[in-house]
């Protein structure tokens, strides 16, 4: 474990994403959002992230906030532990779609159910990019790869529907090419009290250029109604390349968070302290 003192939202680490990878836009949106929140009074040292393993999770090296570079698929348990350890921290999770919906699927459902105050960002490029383009649960039917030369046979999973069913209290989708909108949604997700799920629908320049065709289908929404949210979730099934794809806040609701339910955590919240410093 190691520590670093200078206050700067980015790092000097060499970025190893492919030139032009949408993850650069995602990083910019995150940096802007965090910088803005810090200006508004959030403390940089109170943010704590956990990233999975994959192309997107390399963001760990590029953000100058505390955090854990975890295991593939296990982002949310680490975030949960961080909140149980010190509920005053702002926990941020970063995963690819393989990380979130394949390896770590069970944690996604339960994190939504626990409703701890965690922001969970999934960069969905509809493939396992870092392992060279195999299909994930959100790859469209017919998606060809070295692992499945005949193409993917299964219908993709709809994570937005799943998040709704699991009880997530904030569900949003972004198009990272719309930097300003993406940044705004990330800020709102962080400010949301409870489990906030933000999915970025993005290309992988090397293994999946699918989302290029999806951008024209995207339109912005800002919804808090559950019934409407279900309709919005159904508008795109992650398979077809026509119809409409809502981006923005698909659902948001206020409900008690895990940290308010446990008296022990409430005590830490009221004191503003973590385990190390509380008496």
């Amino acid at each position: 474990m190691t520590t670093q003192n200078k206050i700067e939202i980015g790092t000097k680490e060499e970025i190893t994403w492919c030139p032009g990878c949408p993850n650069f836009l995602v990083l910019a949106a995150w940096k802007n959002a965090l910088a803005k929140l810090i200006k508004e009074g959030y403390k940089q040292e109170d943010f704590v992230m956990c990233t999975g393993i994959g192309c997107h999770p390399k963001i760990y090296d590029y953000l100058n906030i505390s955090g854990v570079y975890g295991l593939h698929g296990r982002v949310l348990p680490v975030c949960l532990g961080m909140k149980l350890g010190n509920p005053n921290l702002k926990a941020l999770g970063f995963s690819g779609d393989g990380d979130a919906y394949a390896e770590g699927m069970e944690h996604f459902i339960h994190a939504a159910r626990y409703n701890a105050d965690i922001t969970y960002f999934v960069a969905d490029n509809q493939n396992f990019a870092l392992t060279t383009g195999q299909p994930t649960p959100t790859s469209p039917q017919g998606f060809k790869s070295k692992a499945e030369p005949a193409g993917e046979y299964n219908m993709p999973l709809n994570p937005v529907k799943l998040a709704l069913a699991a009880g997530a209290s904030f569900i949003a989708r972004i198009n990272p090419k719309d930097l300003v909108h993406s940044q705004e949604i990330i800020e709102k997700a962080i400010k949301h009290k409870g489990f906030a799920f933000v999915e970025s629908v993005q290309d992988c320049l090397i293994f999946n250029m699918n989302s290029k065709d999806l951008v024209p289908l995207m339109y912005k929404v800002d919804n808090k109604d559950k019934k409407k949210a279900q309709e919005l979730a159904d508008e795109w099934d992650y398979d077809k390349k026509d119809g409409k794809i809502p981006i923005g806040i698909i659902y948001q609701e206020e409900k008690p968070i895990l940290e308010e339910k446990w008296p022990q955590l409430k005590k830490l919240r009221e004191s503003g302290k973590g385990r190390k410093s509380i008496k």
Partner: protein, 524 residues
């Protein structure tokens, strides 16, 4: 003086209550007890039993022959009558047909009478347990009245009266964790680790522990282990607990611990495997996986206490070492240690008090990574740094090795000059002590006995003294409750010495002291 009484019946009939009442009464008048719990993986019905062993001396085992049977159903008699000594007694369920739901209490009353103990002791205990519940008191009195005394267990005048406490290994582990200031216990239910979860959960709203403890049941063991690391990273004192299968699920996270160097204490209570095995029975078969589970090479500490008081002490040491070295500590137990009820009279060592001094999130930027990383915690694939870090992890293990020397890594009992050396660990400790005493009083009378017993408590790092002890002995016998002699293999790996005489038991049941005595005597 030693008696063994089996209390059997269907799950849910109140077998444990009988053991509990009788043990408490006996402890109060100066007798030691040891209660073995044998139960099946079902909730109601089936056949469960306890064997309550009673002695005027310290004991930690049961014997194979019974002085009495308390049968809450007829099946108990059918199944166990062959174990009953010729002059043994039976208290049948039918003796108290009219009592209704308090049959077990009447039987406890009957047993107290048979043992020849004064009635006041019984009634006092019943009142303590049930308050002024008239039916319970009447049942106990009825039971007492119906039976005749067969033994004469008088109040002993030894010093231990009022100092004996009944404690299970699980209670010891929990106490050690609370003494260490545990903030978070994470688990997913799995016998025989669950008792610690229940014990700690029952204490979490008890402010006297002062640790603001949370017991959290996560969605699976993978989540448990990763959440444990997340919480520890933020400065919480964390323990996670499980049995074999759950431990397997955790191993990737343990390896992550090895790279990220976030302190973590793991409680691993084993049961007979492989697979789901025999969930509610006992085997010491997870030493291997505790030593090696998790990919890659990284330091760890593995400690195996052998009785409830050692559970308190070693859990405290595990917490201390994890925090001091940002290391993984595994406390190894099994069903027999975790769930048997020992009467203990030794005070645990002084609590090692320690504070978290490392920088945690909220105090600045802190990073911990499962990737190989530079000094800021950022990813690196640089070979020079990779080698340097690997060397540092190795060096850390050397430091751990030095530091643990201040703790009891092994214990030696009996005649220090004896040429016959028994080696064992964990839950076999107390049965070995009882067996050696039964042979020639070796433990009680260290100057006279022909045996000594070496108990290994630290499995990793392991003590250099073991080799010296083996070399001094002319006969070495390994006693383990597993199929292949896992400690024996570890000793061979560390010392080059293969122990040929092995007494191994692996039917899911613990050794009885009389059978172990015979086995030891058989070794020529």
């Amino acid at each position: 003086m030693r008696l063994n009484i089996l209390i059997g019946g269907k799950a849910g009939q109140g077998i444990n209550k009988v053991s509990q009442i009788v043990s408490r009464v006996l402890n109060k008048i100066g007798y030691y007890t040891f209660n073995y719990r044998d139960y099946q993986s079902l909730i109601r019905g089936g056949h469960n039993f306890n064997v309550l062993s009673i002695s005027d001396k310290k004991i930690g085992s049961i014997e194979s022959k019974l002085d009495g049977i308390i049968a809450l159903d007829d099946k108990t008699i059918e199944l166990h009558k062959n174990e009953l000594k010729k002059e043994g007694f039976i208290i049948k369920c039918g003796d108290f047909c009219t009592i209704g739901k308090n049959v077990n209490i009447a039987q406890a009353g009957g047993l107290i009478k048979i043992l020849g103990i004064q009635k006041e002791n019984l009634i006092e205990e019943i009142k303590k347990e049930f308050g002024d519940n008239k039916e319970a008191i009447a049942a106990a009195e009825d039971g007492y009245k119906t039976k005749n005394s067969k033994f004469n267990l008088e109040r002993l005048k030894n010093k231990i009266v009022n100092k004996i406490a009944i404690m299970s290994g699980s209670q010891g582990i929990s106490k050690g964790a609370i003494d260490s200031g545990i903030n978070l216990y994470l688990a997913y239910p799995m016998t025989p680790a669950t008792a610690v979860m229940h014990e700690l959960a029952s204490k979490q709203f008890d402010n006297s522990s002062g640790t603001n403890l949370i017991v959290f049941e996560a969605e699976n063991e993978i989540s448990v282990a990763n959440a444990g690391l997340g919480a520890s990273f933020t400065g919480a004192k964390v323990m996670i607990g499980t049995a074999g299968g759950g431990f397997d699920l955790m191993t990737e996270a343990l390896s992550f611990q090895g790279m990220a160097e976030i302190p973590l204490v793991v409680y691993l209570a084993s049961r007979p495997g492989p697979g789901t095995g025999i969930p509610t029975y006992s085997l010491q078969d997870d030493l291997d996986v505790a030593l090696r589970g998790g990919h890659g090479e990284f330091p760890r500490i593995v400690i195996a206490p052998g009785d409830p008081i050692e559970c308190i002490e070693k859990t405290n040491e595990a917490f201390y070492l994890s925090e001091k070295f940002n290391a993984l500590s595994i406390i190894l137990s099994d069903k027999h240690l975790a769930e048997s009820e020992f009467s203990t009279d030794r005070k645990p060592n002084k609590i090692i008090d320690f504070k978290i001094t490392r920088k945690v999130p909220g105090e600045g930027i802190v990073k911990a990574s499962s990737y190989e990383h530079d000094k800021f915690g950022n990813t690196t694939e640089n070979s020079a740094i990779a080698k340097k870090n690997a060397d540092e992890r190795l060096k850390k293990y050397d430091e751990i090795k030095k530091d643990v020397k201040k703790f009891e890594m092994i214990k030696i009992y009996g005649n220090k000059n004896a040429k016959n050396l028994i080696i064992g660990w964990g839950s076999t400790k107390t049965v070995i002590l009882d067996a050696l005493d039964a042979i020639d009083g070796s433990i009680e009378n260290p100057l006279k006995g022909k045996y000594k017993f070496l108990q290994v408590l630290y499995m990793k790092p392991i003590s250099d003294e073991i080799k010296k002890e083996i070399e001094k002995a002319s006969k070495v016998i390994l006693v383990e409750n597993n199929v292949t002699g896992q400690l024996g293999r570890l000793i061979r790996e560390k010392t080059g010495i293969a122990i040929k005489n092995k007494i191994l038991k692996y039917d899911g049941k613990p050794f009885t002291s009389d059978e172990l005595k015979e086995e030891i005597l058989k070794v020529k």
